[in-house]
């Protein structure tokens, strides 16, 4: 165990919190906001169906999956930057 600068540890926490907030906002928009404006969005059409239906049946799920993979990739990079790469210790 060695002591590290608390500011460094806090900057890790801050980056993670900012990223998570962004991901959750995108996820919230893709689901709750789209549903809220479903009637208005039904004018447009995508992949052969009205846009609100597309978002519920396909769009939102795809966005959720992309968000989780983005998080995994970006978080691996952040860990590496902070020297927390767990694979090297295994």
């Amino acid at each position: 165990m060695k002591k590290i600068d608390k500011r460094e540890a806090d900057s890790y926490f801050r980056i993670r919190t900012i990223l998570i907030t962004i991901y959750l906002l995108i996820g919230f928009t893709a689901s709750f906001v789209v549903v809220f404006f479903a009637e208005e969005l039904s004018e447009f059409s995508f992949n052969g169906m009205p846009f609100h239906y597309f978002m519920g049946a396909q769009g939102a799920i795809l966005i959720f999956i992309i968000l989780l993979f983005t998080n995994a990739i970006i978080n691996d990079r952040i860990d590496k930057k902070f020297g927390l790469d767990q694979d090297q210790k295994e």
């Binding site: 165990m1 060695k2 002591k3 590290i4 600068d5 608390k6 460094e8 540890a9 890790y12 926490f13 993670r16 998570i20 991901y23 959750l24 996820g27 689901s31 709750f32 549903v35 809220f36 479903a38 009637e39 039904s42 992949n47 052969g48 169906m49 009205p50 609100h52 239906y53 597309f54 519920g56 049946a57 396909q58 939102a60 799920i61 795809l62 959720f64 999956i65 968000l67 989780l68 993979f69 998080n71 995994a72 978080n75 691996d76 860990d79 902070f82 927390l84 767990q86 694979d87 210790k89 295994e90």
Partner: protein, 559 residues
């Protein structure tokens, strides 16, 4: 006994033989290299195992039928059950993993330093898992009922015997490779019919690209019949109900004890992130296909079944009418079956689809095997959660601390059998469609565990009295709202029983905050532990300072 029965039974037996075979093979290997086992499972396969754990009879049997009958309004289930993984992965999984506790009642008891809180959490685990298992038993009733061409209730009784036997043996949980096999059987069984239907109807083998066209044709068919159109939003319930249901399912996902457990048994934080991402991809494959099922089945029913002479209905209708889940009465006695005269239960759509589309006995048998895998694996896991809560958290920690290993095992086994039979009795006459019953379990989880865990992890001031008040109030508000909405016709903003979680969660969050602030702050030690959860594994917070620790080093207690 016809050939369909034999083929279906054979497919079920072969796939179950496969799961048991893999389990036995792995158990033999685990004794030799015990420490390596389970740690070298790549994240991709761990994701598949989580997928098999997650997808129950509600997803496999119930979902497509719900979307078919509710139209756009059924999509709340799809977005809710996938979106919950965002809350889980971003807000809870890393912190719960770092805390090093193995079960939800254990975490709540230690975090809030209160054995009362642990006891309430154990009781809530039992109520939630019990409700959830009613849906699974009801699902196995549909499959067995069709297989033996008996009433669904008789199928449920047979399911109860199977599940009690299966869970008392320990289920097939916890062995990752068995679950990988279950996922593969389940997803292949789900995708083959939908791909064939897509080919039949649109000449395009990719259902996700082709069903948009069918959705368009359904709109025209609905317009001709003058019924409310398939894609028009909020025809079955209000917009607020849609939003409330979606929230309930998302928050419930993040609070379901048997799902959370999967995330803290992986070897590293990195593995947890990747497993979660892969899991949602594999789960998403089924959820992306459910609306395609719904559209194709509805189209075939509207164009090929409706409009035919009542004396000349396809053979498959007779066997489903026998199970009591389909009614094709010619109510206006014109000799022709109209679309309005078909009354189909949500729960048989997926199982009946291969028959409706005439896909042959092997595909139908495969569907039966996939559905049984989904229902039995989830039910087994739920029963184990119930027995662990009863024998460990309630009996051993609160009633009889001197209990021996064999006494606890006996309590565990007995509780599995009692719980299965009790759930089976309720499932004989299911209080709702499978997806609806399962939604109540999610409502209860979002009214109790979701607030307790989120605040426990992110707010160090939350304390024991606060969480006790919060869980009790959340549980009562959710239960009261479910019953008042379902049986008393009481609703707020048109939100019905399945959306009850939004009120439960709000009440619980307010109660935890108010009561915590009104009572003494948690001990310095507890507050430090919560601060520590902010930092990744590899950093430890202590006395206002952060220390670098070896992330690979395990600090968890042995169990």
């Amino acid at each position: 006994m016809d050939s369909q029965f034999l083929v279906s039974l054979l497919m079920i037996l072969v796939t179950f033989g496969l799961y048991i075979g893999i389990a036995v093979y792995n158990m033999a290997r685990q004794t030799s290299d015990f420490y390596v086992a389970g740690r070298n499972v790549p994240a991709v396969f761990n994701g598949m195992a989580i997928g098999a754990d997650w997808m129950s009879a509600a997803s496999f049997i119930g979902l497509a039928g719900t979307v078919m009958l509710l139209g756009y309004d059924g999509l709340a289930y799809i977005m809710g059950w996938t979106g919950g993984y965002l809350l889980l992965t971003f807000l809870l999984a890393p912190q719960l993993r770092k805390s090093g506790r193995y079960t939800v009642p254990e975490f709540i008891g230690d975090r809030y330093s209160s054995s009362t809180a642990r006891l309430i959490a154990a009781v809530a685990t039992i109520i939630i898992s019990f409700t959830y298992s009613i849906g699974q038993l009801s699902g196995s009733g549909v499959v067995i009922g069709r297989l033996l061409e008996v009433h669904t209730a008789v199928g449920t009784i047979i399911g109860v015997v199977l599940i009690a036997f299966y869970s008392a043996l320990g289920g097939m949980k916890g062995i990752t490779w068995t679950q990988v096999a279950q996922y593969l059987v389940l997803i292949i069984a789900y995708l083959i019919p939908v791909i064939f239907m897509s080919l039949q109807l649109t000449n395009n083998p990719i259902p996700w690209m082709s069903y948009g066209q069918i959705v368009g044709e359904l709109q025209q068919l609905d317009a001709q019949l003058g019924i409310s159109e398939y894609v028009v939003p909020f025809t079955e319930a209000t917009k607020w109900q849609f939003l409330a249901l979606m929230f309930t399912l998302m928050a419930g996902t993040a609070g379901l004890p048997h799902v959370i457990v999967r995330f803290y048994t992986v070897s590293t934080m990195k593995a947890a992130r990747w497993s979660g991402a892969w899991a949602l991809l594999f789960i998403g494959l089924l959820y992306l296909s459910a609306p395609a099922y719904a559209a194709f089945s509805r189209f075939i029913l509207m164009t090929q079944v409706a409009g035919s002479s009542i004396a000349d209905l396809p053979a498959w209708t007779a066997s489903w009418v026998n199970t009591g889940s389909l009614s094709v009465a010619d109510t206006n006695t014109d000799g022709i079956l109209q679309w309005e005269e078909i009354v189909i239960s949500n729960d048989i759509v997926v199982m009946a689809t291969p028959e409706i589309a005439n896909l042959g006995i092997f595909v139908i048998g495969l569907m039966a095997a996939g559905a049984m895998a989904a229902a039995l694996s989830t039910a087994g896991g739920l029963m184990i959660a119930i027995s662990a809560a009863l024998s460990q958290d309630i009996y051993y920690r609160s009633i009889n601390p001197e209990a021996t290993e064999s006494q606890r095992l006996l309590v565990g086994r007995a509780s599995i059998i009692i719980a299965t039979v009790a759930a089976g009795l309720v499932a004989l006459n299911p209080p709702g469609a499978i997806t609806q019953i399962v939604a109540w379990a999610f409502a209860l989880a979002s009214g109790t565990f979701f607030p307790a865990l989120i605040l426990g992890v992110w707010w160090k001031r939350a304390n024991g009295p606060g969480v006790i008040a919060g869980m009790l109030i959340g549980l009562s508000v959710t239960l009261t709202y479910i019953f008042a909405a379902k049986y008393g016709g009481f609703t707020i903003l048109g939100i019905i029983d399945t959306g009850a979680g939004v009120f439960g969660a709000a009440a619980a969050i307010i109660a935890i905050i108010v009561v915590s602030l009104a009572t003494k702050a948690p001990s310095k030690e507890t507050q430090e532990e919560v601060m520590d959860l902010r930092y990744p594994e590899g950093m430890t917070y202590k006395d206002g300072e952060v220390w670098r620790t070896d992330p690979a080093e395990k600090k968890r207690p042995d169990h």
